[in-house]
Symmetry: D3
């Protein structure tokens, strides 16, 4: 079994199917996306990753849309093409408008710029921020 | 004049003071933080960066608190110690509770993890995300 | 001669061929992979990079398989698609099983997550680690 | 309760103490390190992170020492000062000799270099790696 | 209007066309490249980004070629495929020879390597550098 | 011998002293900086790294000042505090004025910003750049 091919539901064993079923039920989708089909090569990582994401992405002090936008912001910063595609779709599904997307990208771009200006100018942390 | 020392208001010329004054007025603070005092070594960059941040961080389709939390998420991903300190303070000032901070960090951590799982398993983008 | 095209053995001069020959002999392969064919545009970098890799990747206190897995872990963290493909193949050739790959990815993912949690919570280094 | 202060065992509630106790028992240490004391501000993240690390870092197809060295390699690549200190200590405790550390750093350095050479020369993935 | 499609000149409104026209005039090109056509989904970001780049990339204390090479060095370090392609082309147009490109990549590769060696060995900043 | 302490010239063996002597001669300094004193824990890495840097940083198609500025740009992008301090000093020694530093930082900041805008908008590479 090669790590290079996705594991489809019809070829999956009971342990993997249980996770796929829970993803489909929780997200109300007909099929899991590629990420889970590849992760299924390691059932322990599949199960742990899904359970962590399920707990973390559930609405709490932050709503689901904000969480998906933060996920997208991190993925854009890291340049993960798959994650930008999948979490961009998820954020839109959770209600991110194109105006929100535009502002999100503007903040992400600016943060990446000023992170480097702070590094380059070797700016020391203000005492007020350490109190 | 060394790039290693901050430029204080009392030592700044009119061009720099105009930016410092606008920062203090906009943010309703008595003093600008270190980032601006160091950036003042290059007045053109000081002015452009401030005007960009002022425009980008103003409430729009996204509220100010969400924008500061996204700024923090990017800074944490990049490991910029100064920016984590300053935008953590800014996000709290804009209303981020400790419960929100906890959930924000959980999302940032998980996104950084799954970004690498997607890289490592070489997951191709689902056709559904490219439509 | 464009930097966009690989330099094939038949078109290479003696200096480049000497490096290609040493790669083929050392790795017991019939052809060098694309990385070397592109690097051949700068013979000095080609030679220095190959000699460094040859010395560094030889078994020593760490065995070849562990070294290839570390190389893969770094490449996954940086999101270098070419390097993930080539060092994934090299690690498997050096004996990395799919179970090892799964555990490697789990560690890489977790390290990328906790690196950000440590950043975000601004955790100071324990005195015990600085002794 | 500020996110800026560690939560000590004596001030922790039962939920946090249960995690701290399991860390101390599993790692056979008298006190948990700062990472856990800060994460305790978010008990759900504390518990999930510890349980994930406990499962992932247990010896399996890869031994504990190799896993700690991979953790260190990722932390060095990301430049996480806290994680470099703590996982450097953990790797040494798990048997990493100074010779192993030297070779590990050489591989990490070289991988970071060639990741960028592959990016810069825009090297396409060899067909052989995609089979 | 989807963020996934470029906005062509013929479909652009007056605000966007004004920016496109200024880019074409400044760079003496017949058509703007994809980056601007996608950014046009957010006219405010389009305008601000162009005006910042126009000011920053104009020859000053550093010439245009050096600036484009630095832009390329950053893009290679971050692994941004689009930016490597576009700023590689721009640097060549500004006079970067293949010999310069080769030396640039050698420096970028080495810097990425020694950045990690400095991290991994936890090297403290020399007093001489902080004066 | 701990990896945490620098190796001073007086305590170094002949192999390490030979490298230290060459660094001092080449750079015309009285003492090597901390980076080399820590790397001396692994004499093979010390020697290889120095010889690579010596070859790469020598003036060629690019002058020494440009090379040091590129080194600084990469270090700022990666957030390596040690390298920012040491290569900032080296670039100034090689003739980088404060005006040049200001422009360099502006380019580095802008490149880091637009790298993420290109990622986030998922901009495809223009056909013209692939010719």
């Amino acid at each position: 079994m090669s790590a290079q091919a996705p594991i489809e539901y019809r070829d999956a064993d009971a342990e993997i199917r249980a996770v796929f079923d829970d993803i489909k039920r929780t997200r109300q989708v007909d099929e899991v996306n590629n990420f889970w089909k590849y992760l299924a090569h390691d059932p322990a990582t599949l199960k742990r990753t899904w359970e962590s994401i399920k707990a973390i992405m559930a609405p709490g002090a932050l709503d689901a849309r904000t969480k998906e936008m933060v996920y997208l912001a991190v993925s854009v910063t890291n340049g993960c093409a798959y994650c930008i595609a999948s979490h961009g779709a998820a954020a839109r599904k959770a209600g991110m408008s194109e105006a929100m997307f535009g502002e999100l990208m503007a903040v992400v771009g600016m943060a990446n710029e000023t992170n480097r200006l702070a590094n380059g100018y070797r700016v020391p942390v203000d005492a007020a921020f350490d109190r």
